[in-house]
Amino acid sequence: MKIILAKGRYYFKERDITYNVDSDIVLNLENSLYTISGNNGIGKTAFLELLLLPLLKRNKLDFAYLEQNKNNQLYTIESSLAFCKKLDRSKDIYINWLEVLDYPKIIVADEFDKYSSSFTKILSTKISCIFLVSHLKNVQSQVQFKNIKNINICLKDNKERVIKIEKE
C-alpha cells in the first residue's frame, strides 16, 4: 500500500505555517519506518498533525496517533474506552486501546519512543509502518523494518518549510 503526499504548497492558517513539497512524495506503508527530522520548533509535530494525519484519513487508513504528552493521551484513552465500555484493567492500557482500534498497522508517534516500555509494547503488535519524530539515537535498532527513510523538514528563506524525503 502506498500513498502520495502531493507536490504543492500547504498553508495552515491556525498555526501560520507553510510547507512546501517540491515533488510528489510516495510513502510506502509496508515494512517501513519514516523518521521525521528537523530543528527544534521547525514544525515536526505540525507536519504530523496537519499534513500526515489528514492524508491518512483521506486515504481511509486506520492509524494510531501517539502524542508527545503521555498524560493527555492517557486521559482520553481511558475515558473513551470507559465510555465505550471497553476498558479492560487486566490488560496494558495501550494494548487495550490498540485492540479496540482493531490493531492499526500504521503508528504515528511524536517523540513517543521516550516512553520506552510503552513504546516497546506497542511495537510488539503487528505494525507495518511507523512515522516517528524522535530525539533518540537508537530508533532504527528498535524496529525491524526493511524500508527506513527520513523525512526532513528545513526552513527556506526563513519563511517556508521544505519537506524532503531522504534514504537513511
Binding site: 493521551q73 475515558s79 465510555f83 465505550c84
Partner: protein, 197 residues
C-alpha cells in the same frame, strides 16, 4: 484586594440586578448588557476571542432556540409564552457566561497572592487557577486526540462523553500535580528565606 473585591461585587451586582430582578425579563436591557459584555470582552481580550466565544456558544443557543420553538408549537403545559421565555434565556445565558469569563480573566495570580488570607488557603486558589489556565489548552488537545480515535467517529455522544470524562481525569490528576509543584516551590523558598536570615 480592592480589585478582587470590586470584581466580585460587580459579579454580585450583575446577578442581583440582571438575573434575579425584574430586569431579567426585559429583552431591551438584556440586549444592551450583552452588547456591553461583547465590547468589554473585546477590550480585555480581542475581537477574535469574542468571535470564538460566540462561535462556541452557538450550538447551545441553537438547541435552546429549537426547544423553544418546539415547546411553543406544542403549546406545552398550556403556555403560549415559550418564545418570549426562550429569547430571554438566549440573552441571559451568554450574558452570565461573559460576566463569569471576564471576572475570571481579570483576576490575576498576583491579585490572589496579595489577598490577606493564609498562604495555605491562597495555595488552593492559585492551584485551581493554574489548572484552569492549563485546562484551556488541554481541552483542545483532548478533542484533537479523540478525533483521531476511529471507534468514536460514529457517535458524537460517545465523543463528547469521553471528552467530559477525560477532563475530569485531567482535573483530578493535574490539580494534584500542580499542588505538588506549588508546595515544592513554597518549601524551597521558605528554606531559602530561613537560611538568609
Amino acid at each position: 484586594m480592592i480589585k478582587i473585591f470590586t470584581i466580585l461585587l460587580s459579579l454580585l451586582g450583575y446577578m442581583i440586578f440582571f438575573v434575579f430582578s425584574t430586569f431579567n425579563s426585559n429583552i431591551g436591557i438584556q440586549l444592551i448588557v450583552l452588547f456591553g459584555f461583547l465590547m468589554a470582552n473585546t477590550l480585555v481580550n480581542d475581537i477574535k476571542n469574542t468571535y470564538n466565544t460566540i462561535l462556541r456558544l452557538l450550538p447551545f443557543l441553537a438547541f435552546l432556540f429549537l426547544f423553544g420553538v418546539i415547546f411553543q408549537l406544542l403549546n406545552l403545559l398550556g403556555r403560549n409564552d415559550w418564545m418570549n421565555d426562550t429569547i430571554i434565556k438566549l440573552l441571559l445565558f451568554p450574558n452570565s457566561l461573559f460576566v463569569c469569563k471576564l471576572a475570571a480573566e481579570l483576576i490575576s495570580l498576583n491579585d490572589i497572592y496579595n489577598l490577606p488570607i493564609s498562604m495555605h488557603n491562597k495555595s488552593y486558589i492559585i492551584t485551581i487557577k493554574a489548572v484552569l489556565i492549563k485546562g484551556k489548552y488541554s481541552l483542545k488537545r483532548c478533542m484533537f486526540l479523540l478525533n483521531t480515535y476511529k471507534y468514536l467517529q460514529k457517535s458524537k455522544l460517545k465523543k463528547y462523553g469521553s471528552l467530559i470524562l477525560a477532563l475530569f481525569f485531567y482535573l483530578e490528576q493535574e490539580s494534584q500535580n500542580q499542588w505538588l509543584v506549588f508546595d515544592n516551590r513554597m518549601r524551597h523558598l521558605t528554606d531559602m528565606k530561613k537560611k538568609s536570615q
